[in-house]
Each structure stands twice: as C-alpha cells, then as structure tokens.
C-alpha cells in the first residue's frame, strides 16, 4: 500500500515538486552517511568556524567580563595601534625575511637530495640514507632544539671540535648575526628527509623505458637527471611551491623559532606569531589587538596565495585552482 503510494507520488507531480522529492529521497537514502558525518561537522563548526566568528573582536575592545558580543566596537583602532607600534615593522620584516628565506634556501634542498638519492642504485643503501634523513621529522621542535642546543652550544660538540683543531669557538645560538642562518640550517636538518619523500614517490612513477631510450640515445647520467627526472617532478614542486608561498605569513616557522629563540636574538627572529603569543600571554596585552594582528596575517596570506597560484599558472605548471 504505502509503497505504491510513494511510487505514485514520485511519478505524478511535475516540475519543482518532483525535484525536491528526488532530493529528499537522496538525502533520506544517505541518512546513515549523515550520521557518520555528524562528529566531523561538529568538530569543524566548534573548533574552526566558531572561532572565525571570534575574529570580530579585532574590531572591538574585548573584555572578559563583557564577552565577545558585549564588548564595544572600536572600528579599526586595533589595526591603527598595530601599525603605530615601533616593533611592528621589525616583526613584520622578520616574518617576511624568514619566510622568504625558507622558500629560497630550504625549498630546493629536498629536490636536490631526492635527485641524489635517486642515483643510489643499491636499495639497502638508499633505505639507510632515507631512514637517517627522515627520522628528525618525527621529533618535535622541543626535542630537536634540545638536541641541537646541546650540539651547538658553547661547550657542545661543534665547539669542542673547533677547539681541537685550533679554531676559535663560535656561538651560533647567541649571535644575532648568524641566528637566521641557524634557523634555516636546523630546519633543513629536521625536515629535509621528509621533504624528499614526496619527490621520490613522484620519481618512482617515471616509466623506466624513458631512461633506457635516453641511454640508447647516448644521454649520460646528468643529462638523464636533467631531462627526464627533473621534468617529471616539476609539477609536484610547483604545487608545493604555491602552498608554501600561500602560507608565507605562517611559513616563518613558529614552532622552531619559539623553541630556539631568546631575548638576545629577538631583533632578527621575532615573528608575528611569537609576537602575538608574547604580547598576549606574557605581557598581558589586549586580546583584541592580538586578534587584529592575526587578521592582518590572514589577509596577506590570502593575497599571496592568489598571486603565487597565478604565477605558477603563467609558468604552465597547472596550479591549484
């Protein structure tokens, strides 16, 4: 009875009613999938979308007692005070210099090492290198800073070695002039091996026949690397490049800097994220001000992502969107 009724309803009414019925039917059929989706939606709403609404405190003067809605609107005051802060320009400069440095200095390293590792023929040897190179990725920056501070400190192994061969000590950790270099170097130390994996996976997908054909045509090893291997990982590199540029304001490396810097090197390593954290949680700064700095960061990020995507598309590498 009921079944025939349902079928009848599905066939008879024309136009919009029918499509809504079909949609409703699809939704009803997927009801169990929606149940499965429920926790995920709850998570993203509570911990991602609800905080986005909290962004409005960047345009308010937030106070704990009044809450987000009750706090008074102050327009762009927080942004004005951000730009008028003398430190702000330095912090912004550090953020951009460090993020750009990561792209220029750190970005190519995994590509180079993937190409080198690819030249290692014996599987066991290759696996040994990969095992060693990738391990530090799985350690937190807390641990890595502990390891590297021990190694590089005044009484660390590096300085013991230098002394042993009669060279003067260098204190990389304390010296503002070399601190940025140290940040790049230690980040390469930790992440290089992990970075090669994605490229090695791309290389593994190359048809061996290409190499054979090239050898028959007399291409040497270097030529094959340049003409076959590199072109086949170029699009992977392009995607990673866009992602990194689009994340430039976060890409300065908060986790690392926060665990390695100290007041002696603030001038060269204090970035927006560390600045926000300190001004809020150490110096008791205003929540609204810190949020405004965060909003500023997101806007710059968004602009850069669009530019990077356009640039890569121009270069004929597809792009993300």
């Amino acid at each position: 009875m009921l079944e025939s009724k349902l079928n009848g309803a599905k066939e008879s009414p024309p136009g919009t009613k029918r499509t809504t019925n079909i949609v409703a039917k699809h939704v009803w059929e997927a009801r169990y999938l929606y149940i499965l989706l429920l926790p995920l939606v709850a998570y993203y709403v509570v911990f991602h979308y609800y905080p986005m609404y909290g962004i409005i405190i960047a345009f308010k003067e937030y106070s704990f007692s009044k809450g987000i809605l009750g706090s008074p609107w102050v327009g762009l005051k927080q942004f004005e005070s951000m730009f008028s802060l003398p430190q702000f320009i330095d912090v912004l400069k550090n953020t951009l210099i460090l993020a750009a440095g990561r792209i220029v200095i750190e970005f190519p390293i995994p590509i180079i090492f993937a190409l080198l590792l690819n030249e290692v023929r014996r599987t066991l040897t290759k696996r040994f290198y990969q095992t060693v190179f990738t391990f530090p990725h799985f350690l937190s920056w807390v641990i890595v800073s502990g390891i590297l501070i021990n190694f590089l400190s005044d009484s660390g192994v590096l300085n013991q070695l230098l002394q042993y061969v009669g060279l003067p000590k260098i204190n990389l950790l304390m010296e503002p002039s070399s601190f940025r270099g140290l940040l790049f170097g230690t980040s390469i130390w930790k992440e290089m091996g992990w970075g090669t994996i994605i490229y090695l996976a791309a290389i593994a997908g190359i048809d061996p026949a290409l190499y054979e054909a090239a050898s028959i045509d007399g291409a040497n090893r270097f030529q094959r690397m340049l003409r076959i291997t590199w072109p086949s990982i170029r699009s992977t590199a392009a995607v990673l490049f866009i992602l990194q540029v689009g994340n430039i304001m976060n890409g300065a490396g908060f986790d690392q800097i926060f665990n390695m810097y100290h007041p002696g090197v603030y001038e060269v390593s204090d970035i927006l994220d560390t600045f926000i954290y300190r001004s809020t949680f150490y110096e008791g700064g205003s929540f609204s001000f810190s949020t405004a700095v965060g909003v500023f960061k997101s806007i710059i990020n968004c602009i850069l992502l669009i530019i990077a995507n356009l640039a890569v598309k121009r270069m004929g590498q597809g792009g993300l969107m």
Partner: protein
C-alpha cells in the same frame, strides 16, 4: 644494463654520508651524554667516544614522580587522542568519499576553507576557554580531533575502494554504517594503520596546546615538561637581564639530566619509527596533493 660507476658516484655518496653524519652525531651525542659521568665528559676534549657508563641521570629523573606523571599525561593524550582522531577521520572521510552524498561538495569546500583560514590564536583560545577545557586533558585532544590533511588522504583512499564490494552488501540489506564496519574497514586496515601511526606521533609530540591551555604543572605532558627544563629562559621574558641570563640558565640544569629527559621523550617515537617507515613509499602522502 651495466654502467660505469666513476667519480659521480663517489661524490654523491660523499655528500650523502656527510649529511647522514651531520644528522646522526648530534643525536648520538645526546644519548652519550645522558649515559655519561660528568667527570668523564670534562676530561675528554671531544666527547664522541663513550668512556663512561653512568645511569645516575636516569636514576635522578625517575626518582621523583614528576616525570612519571608527565609520561602518564602524554600517554593518555596519545592513546585517547589517537583513538578519537582515527575514529572521527575514518567515519568522516568515508561519508565524504561517497559520490551520491547530497551536499558533499559544500562539506568539502567548508573543510578546505579551514586549511586557508582560521580564527587565529586568540579566538581559538577563547573557544577552548568557553568550553571549559582550560587545564583539562581534553584541551590537548579535542581542538585537534581531525587533521584536515590526513582526512583528505583517507578520503582519497576510500574513493579507490571498488563500489561493487559495497553494492553486494547493500543488496543484502546492510546500511552504510554496516557496510563501513563489515566490508570497508577490514580491507582498509593498512591505510588506517598508517594514519593512526602518524596521528600517534603528532599527539605524542604535542606541546603547543599544553602550553596554551594547561597551567597546572601536574597536568604537563612530557614535551612541555622537557621544554620547561630546556628553555626556562622564556619565563623571564620581561627581565631586563634575560639575554645575559640565557647563557647562565643553560647551565643550571646539569647537562646529563636534560639529555636524559630528551632521550626519554624521544624514545617512543624511535620505537614507532620502523613501523612508520613502511608507509613512506606506499605513496599515501602523495594522494592528497593530487586533489
């Protein structure tokens, strides 16, 4: 194909060996110092060859209950956190992998947007505070319940599961949840295991949420405990002498204690690492990039 292996090979291996040494020596030195007798370190010009074996650093850090408590907190966060992670990621990714799910694209876009934009530090902090999670172990778990990157990897994987497998179960009257539990999960174990391990490492390494949300020292996880030990300097941010104090503070904790704590903190990751490694070449990580 036989090939001459001349000097390029030598150069390549020299570079790779040099880098491997550069990565291994600092870690090796940490382990060495944690097991060393301070006197022996002072006697040698370069402490790279062990001349002493002394467990006093370890005895000391395990003498009180602070380290045990920190390890306990880390264990809870890792176990409960990883279970929540993998449960939410698996069921969410499965539902989103279904082509016929109405509104699927809206959900996907909504999720991808969160990769580009977030509320930022303060709004997220306020959210956690409103939920009453400050100083609760759950503050280290719930805000990180799903990693969008891993979610997309799972989703990409589920799309490769042949539909025919599920159809037959559906014809027998099973609903989507039953299909997931009985048919899809058993054949997806390798991918789920990989993502579980990645999540576990992330949860073990978590220090940032703890720093933000946990102020009671008896709820500190191991990473934060270690951090406090290593960089006490940061606590003296406002101190005018902080810069000069920085170098002194590094010596207040005997080096051996710090290094023993480093070793204890990284040991679980070292144990998991061989299993993690099996998944590198599986190409699981690349799937997400092709999205």
């Amino acid at each position: 194909m036989v090939e001459k292996r001349g000097w390029p090979n030598v150069v390549i291996h020299l570079i790779l060996i040099f880098v491997a040494v550069l990565i291994l020596v600092p870690m090796y030195n940490v382990v060495l110092i944690s097991f060393a007798d301070p006197g022996a370190i002072a006697k040698q010009a370069i402490y790279l060859i062990p001349t002493s074996f002394d467990l006093s650093s370890y005895k000391y850090i395990f003498s009180g209950d602070t380290v045990f408590r920190a390890l306990g907190v880390s264990a809870i966060v890792t176990i409960v956190g990883t279970l929540i992670n993998i449960a939410l990621t698996t069921i969410g990714a499965y539902a989103l992998s279904k082509k016929h799910l109405p509104g699927k694209n809206a959900f996907l876009v909504g999720i991808l947007i969160t990769m580009l934009f977030n509320g930022g530090l303060i709004p997220i902090y306020l959210t956690v505070k409103q939920l009453g999670l400050i100083n609760s172990v759950m503050s280290m778990i719930l805000p990180l319940a799903i990693n969008t990157f891993y979610l997309i990897i799972m989703l990409t994987y589920f799309r490769t599961v042949p539909e025919a497998l599920e159809e037959s179960a559906k014809i027998d009257g099973a609903n989507d949840i039953q299909v997931l539990l009985r048919i899809v999960l058993p054949i997806s174990m390798p991918t789920i295991a990989a993502i579980t391990l990645f999540y576990a490492v992330d949860r073990w390494n978590e220090w940032w949420s703890a720093l933000l949300y946990i102020s009671e020292t008896n709820k500190f996880p191991m990473q934060l405990y270690l951090r406090e030990m290593l960089v006490d300097v940061n606590k003296m941010m406002n101190n005018a002498y902080a810069a000069s104090m920085a170098s002194e503070m590094r010596n207040t904790y005997p080096e051996g204690l710090k290094m023993a704590t480093v070793v204890v903190t990284m040991l679980p990751v070292m144990c998991i690492y061989p299993f993690l490694q099996r998944f590198f070449s599986a190409g699981v990580m690349i799937g997400s990039l092709k999205e």
